[in-house]
């Protein structure tokens, strides 16, 4: 469904990502793991159109999307939940959700989709009129995911969904991710918490210093010496 071929990203002189290959099949969860600064977020940014690629190509549904504007890529059916959630703090939960669907759905369809989101995330119904900035970190993460799902995307890019959350909230978020996959959504997950990511993913790619260090099924990665030593503390 998504395929990244030989992607390189530069920030000035620094080559943050070097010739990364990556594929995500329909209905799969693929985890992109690695240490801080390994190039995971940059890779997601390039797929979503926020970061320009120095070279390489990105294909989505057999069409090339390299270099397209973020709004165009979003309209093709890819939604990114950015790192740090980046909900609109001064807007109400209702307005955050409304913007998520605005470019994709008719007002009637948006209302139906919103109702579905409020059922999936009951906490958002409780804070419907509150400003996004007044929500806790975990609630904001729920809102950020719900806002992305308002677009009825075919593929979800999740950037560090566990970052800064309380352990209990992390469980809730990851249960939800599993549930979304059950419903047929394709997911590319960037996560520093490697154990957690490998538990939920079908396949995984480990990045180190901007390059692919290892790729395979999640089980293979979890069993590999490299991953066990570098990330799982074994």
């Amino acid at each position: 469904m998504l395929s990244v071929e030989g992607l390189s990203i530069r920030y000035g002189e620094v080559e943050a990502v070097r010739r990364v290959d990556l594929t995500v099949g329909r209905g799969e969860i693929v985890a992109l793991v690695g240490a801080n600064g390994a190039g995971k977020s940059s890779t997601l940014g390039a797929i979503a159109g926020l970061v320009p690629a120095a070279s390489g190509k990105v294909f989505f549904d057999s069409g090339e999307i390299t270099g397209l504007a973020p709004e165009t890529i979003a309209r093709r059916g890819i939604s990114l939940v950015p790192e740090g959630r980046r909900i609109f703090a001064s807007l109400s939960v209702a307005d955050n959700l409304r913007l998520g669907g605005a470019a994709h759905l008719s007002p009637a369809a948006a209302k139906t989709q919103e109702e579905e989101m409020l059922q999936l995330f009951p906490i958002l119904r409780r804070y419907y009129r509150s400003k996004g900035g007044n929500l806790s970190g975990g609630e904001q993460q729920m809102l950020a995911i719900a806002r992305a799902l308002m677009a009825k995307p075919r593929m979800l890019l999740l950037d560090e969904p566990s970052l800064g959350l309380a352990p209990q909230m992390i469980d809730t978020v990851f249960d939800l991710i599993a549930e979304l996959r059950e419903n047929g959504l394709t997911i590319l997950l960037v996560e520093q918490n490697v154990a957690l990511a490998l538990e939920i993913a079908d396949r995984a790619t480990a990045l180190a210093n901007g390059e692919v260090a290892l790729a395979g099924t999640a089980k293979e990665l979890a069993a590999s010496d490299l991953v066990r030593q570098a990330y799982l503390g074994a």
Binding site: A74, R86, F88, L99, A102
Partner: protein
């Protein structure tokens, strides 16, 4: 007497508020202080003059003039600012100065450097008499128009999807784009709004002076810039608060300063601005911005 001064203060403050809002709307989205904002006023002024000379009835001429302000703002964005998108703040600032100078020279050489009289309808110079109080029709219209415009803008920003997207873009533009909402549409809307506000302010400004000249936009927009900074740059409620505050202070000083001190009025106003910024460097009502901008 006191009542009249209050009305004058609100009237002047309303014009500053409209102009400061125009600056703030664009700044909150693009991060640009558009110093050619004054020239949008000038364009509207000359459009009013031309429409009246062509024999358009006064209300129609006013509508045409305001529309010309909005169109000029849209054209400015398309021709000058869009090619500079992503450039440094300094480059954007210089671009806006260039447009400003260009338009001033065009009006000076194309029309005339001297002020041109605009025939205002007689009823606008009339006055109400309430008891022993005289209230000018002009200031009352000015106040009414400012308030209606502020409410309309607020409704647009709160109730419509585009307005909500603009509030969101002021916080985090990239995430708005991730929602599939085109950057160009948001930016173009911001400029159109600023043009409409400048056009409206020009009409109110001209109503009290009955003339237009190539430099007419400079002083009010300089004041509006000060108002926007005092209010909190990029904050819309701040721009309105700053505009009214500045109007009130100016009229207050005008009315109470002894003749000998009158020339120092602007210096005193600016000292007041410095005092406010020393206490509240972010302005009266600071803008909300995410750490990603």
């Amino acid at each position: 007497m006191v009542m009249q001064q209050i009305i004058n203060a609100i009237s002047l403050g309303g014009i500053y508020a409209l102009l400061a809002l125009g600056l703030a709307v664009v700044f909150s989205i693009v991060g640009l202080i558009n110093f050619a904002h004054g020239e949008l006023m000038t364009v509207s002024g000359y459009a009013l003059l031309a429409s009246l000379l062509f024999g358009l009835p006064f209300p129609a001429a006013v509508l045409v003039a305001i529309a010309c302000g909005a169109f000029a703002a849209l054209a400015m964005e398309r021709v000058a600012f869009r090619p500079m998108r992503g450039a440094s703040v300094t480059s954007l600032l210089l671009t806006s100065f260039a447009i400003s100078s260009l338009l001033k020279v065009l009006f000076q050489n194309g029309v005339s450097a001297r002020p041109q009289a605009v025939a205002m309808p007689d009823w606008m110079t009339g006055a109400f008499f309430i008891g022993d109080m005289t209230v000018g029709v002009g200031p009352v219209i000015s106040i009414t128009v400012s308030i209606v415009a502020l409410i309309a803008l607020q409704m647009f920003l709160r109730r419509t999807v585009t307005g909500t997207a603009m509030r969101a873009a002021a916080e985090d533009f990239n995430v708005v784009r991730l929602m599939g909402i085109p950057a160009n549409r948001i930016i173009a809307t911001a400029f159109v709004l600023s043009g409409l506000l400048a056009g409206l302010a020009a009409m109110l400004w001209i109503a009290q002076r009955a003339s237009v000249d190539p430099l007419m936009g400079f002083t009010p927009v300089l004041k509006a810039f000060i108002a926007a900074v005092v209010g909190g740059l990029g904050s819309l409620p701040g721009a309105v608060a700053g505009g009214f505050l500045l109007g009130v202070i100016e009229v207050l000083l005008q009315a109470t300063l002894p003749v000998g001190l009158a020339p120092y009025r602007d210096a005193m106003v600016l000292s007041g601005v410095i005092a406010v910024l020393l206490v509240r460097p972010e302005g009266l009502i600071p803008a909300v911005r995410s750490q990603h901008n």
